[in-house]
């Protein structure tokens, strides 16, 4: 077997991560979450007379609650591994990371388990979000006054 044939063999046998399929699934699922959120927000606005901004906050809370509940019930992890960014990028991923950290470390007790590990995964989002937002706000103040 010469080098060319060997390379072909390696190429054929490496498990293919179907990137275009992953991207399509992420697009459809992520879009669907946004679509559902918009539908829910519209319903909230119609029935409670809340302002647009408040209706979006209510929607956000409901999305977070549902994703925590689904994680606790155990089937959300499967969805995350299948869909990846389509579920992780919406707020569902943020809630999922806190909830699963809480459940995973529950056995280690309240302080050293749940308390110490609660923000293990969500911490980076909060940390870099806060630091960058603070810097950007200073830049914004300088630019726009």
């Amino acid at each position: 077997m010469n080098k060319d044939e060997y390379n072909k063999l390696v190429k054929r046998l490496t498990p293919k991560e179907n990137k275009s399929k992953n991207a399509l699934v992420a697009f459809l699922v992520g879009g669907f979450i946004g679509f559902l959120a918009e539908v829910f927000a519209t319903i909230v606005m119609e029935f409670t007379g809340l302002s647009r901004v408040d209706a979006y906050l209510v929607t956000c809370l409901v999305v977070i609650f549902l994703s925590c509940l689904f994680t606790a019930l155990g089937f959300f992890d499967n969805w995350v591994t299948k869909v990846k960014m389509g579920i992780i990028l919406p707020t569902t991923g943020f809630a999922h990371s806190i909830m699963s950290a809480g459940l995973d470390y529950k056995k280690d007790g309240f302080i050293t388990g749940i308390g110490a590990n609660f923000f293990k995964l969500a911490g980076s989002v909060i940390l870099y979000g806060m630091v960058s937002a603070f810097l950007f706000a200073i830049i914004g103040v300088i630019l726009y006054g």
Binding site: V29, G31, T59, C60, T92, F136
Partner: protein, 116 residues
Amino acid sequence: MNFLCAFLFSGIFCLFAQIFLDNTKLTPGHVTSFFTVFGAFLGLVGLYDKFISFAGAGATTIISNFGYMLYKGAYLGFQENGILGLFTGLLQYSSCAITGAVLFSFVLTLIFKPKD
């Protein structure tokens, strides 16, 4: 029309995130952190306001909105309270998401047992 915009906006952000994840060695943690910072940046440039007005909840449910809310809180805080406002205002708008996630998760953690 609103619903279609929400679908497209949220979908396209997730699409880019997935392409990022597949073509680099970054973990989902890297990608979400990047998109949070990116959201704050879009807030600075003044684009995220426009995204929310045309894509609605499609723009407010993704993690970039968290960064945008942080930026908006700090910026508006400065307008009200000066330098101190940067500190008091930063978490003002995003408090909803953080408090919600923490409270719901904690209560549910107490109720449920981990499954493997």
